[in-house]
């Protein structure tokens, strides 16, 4: 039983077939659980809003102000408001994913193949999130400056054009692989330690995993906010502003 609990299944997926598309079922299941948790907790918190907050409302207001701070520092006081739901959802979704992945003993639920884990330990999830960030910052830049947004590619000098274009690829790449690598690595380390020494020894690693999980959520949200802020700011206005 212990061996079975500790067995490592890397790169094995629980496939669902929808038409002729393939979907990783284990990712979907945990994603739905994470989203359900978020939606239920936030609905409960905002069901009966009070001027003097208490209990859950107070806690969620704290969470809101935390992500608000992230968005404000990344995007700026004036323009952060429409982007707050995105930045906040990135943070909350990744945080809850990482923590649920680390805290719930998913291995007690056996799937035909693969195993339940944090959705962020699947490359599809992180790439999806990172590409969403890319779409968001393009959208932010184009909705603010129209086609003039693309002028930033030849600023400050056209020589930097290739590097500026390269940046649009490295941004989602680094975002997705950072998150994916951290979470998967933590799960693997904990898995290996549990496999070798089933009691007590993996606990510090698990605690570190929780810490790393929250840090990764913070990093992802902060970078997303920064990229959106950069797209909104632009060079001309930056010089004007300073």
């Amino acid at each position: 039983m212990m061996i079975h609990l500790a067995a490592l299944e890397v790169g094995k997926h629980f496939y669902w077939h929808i038409g002729n598309l393939e979907v990783h079922g284990q990712v979907m299941i945990v994603t739905w659980i994470v989203m359900a948790v978020l939606v239920i907790v936030s609905s409960l918190a905002t069901r009966n809003l009070q001027r003097i907050p208490g209990g859950l409302q107070n806690f969620m207001e704290y969470a809101l102000e935390f992500v608000q701070e992230i968005a404000k520092t990344g995007i700026g006081e004036r323009e952060y408001r429409p982007w707050l739901p995105f930045v906040g959802s990135f943070f909350l979704f990744i945080l809850v994913s990482n923590w649920l992945g680390a805290l719930i003993p998913w291995k007690l639920i056996t799937l035909p193949e693969g195993e339940l884990a944090a959705p962020t330990s699947d490359i599809n999830t992180t790439v999806a999130l990172a590409l969403t960030v890319s779409v968001l910052y393009f959208w932010a830049g184009i909705s603010k400056k129209g086609l003039g947004y693309f002028a930033k590619y030849v600023q400050p000098t056209p020589i930097l054009l290739p590097i500026n274009i390269l940046e649009d690829f490295t941004k989602p790449l680094s975002l997705s692989f950072r998150l994916f690598g951290n979470i998967l690595a933590d799960e693997l380390v904990v898995g290996v330690l549990v496999f070798l020494v089933p009691v007590f020894i993996p606990l510090p690693m698990m605690a570190l995993g929780l810490f790393a999980g929250s840090i990764q959520a913070l990093i992802f949200a902060t970078l997303a906010a920064t990229y959106i802020g950069e797209a909104l700011e632009g060079h001309g206005e930056e010089e004007h502003g300073h």
Partner: protein, 158 residues
């Protein structure tokens, strides 16, 4: 330990994916995430932001009102202080005037009383002198009378 729901929902294949197995999970996750953003926006961000905003407004207006009231109270206190000071000064003046008047009155009364007393003393003295003179005159008459009688007696017997 296989959960029956998962068996119903899924058709399991033997294909092994590997770590970097991209498939329809990716777009589905993106769509799901955007849905989550939409739901959280209406159940979490907007309501809470509105609550926080209205609370901030409430605090600001209440604070301003309180400041106004405080300023008004301070002004009133100043006015009262000024009035009290004025009244005190007035009272002081009144006391001083009354005291001066009383002193004057006292001095006058004393002077009058003394003058009256002196007048009476003088009158009494004058009366006394007059009576003394009268008595002396009477006595003088009586003395001459008596001395004549004494003389007559002496002369007569001799």
């Amino acid at each position: 330990m296989i959960h029956p729901v998962f068996l119903l929902a899924a058709e399991v294949t033997e294909k092994s994916g590997g770590l970097f197995d991209f498939d329809a999970t990716l777009p589905l996750m993106a769509i799901q995430f955007l849905l989550l953003v939409a739901i959280l926006n209406s159940t979490f961000f907007q309501p809470l932001l509105q609550t926080i905003d209205s609370r901030n407004d409430y605090i600001r207006t209440t604070n301003n009102e309180a400041k106004e009231r405080l300023a008004k109270a301070q002004q009133l206190a100043l006015e009262y202080e000024r009035e009290t000071a004025e009244t005190r000064k007035l009272a002081q003046e009144m006391i001083l005037t009354a005291q001066a008047e009383a002193t004057k009155l006292k001095a006058e009364t004393i002077a009058k009383a003394m003058a009256e007393a002196e007048a009476r003393i003088a009158q009494a003295k004058a009366e006394l002198e007059q009576q003394k003179a009268q008595a002396r005159a009477q006595l003088a008459g009586e003395v001459s009378n008596l001395s004549r009688q004494i003389l007559e007696r002496l002369v007569g017997t001799v």
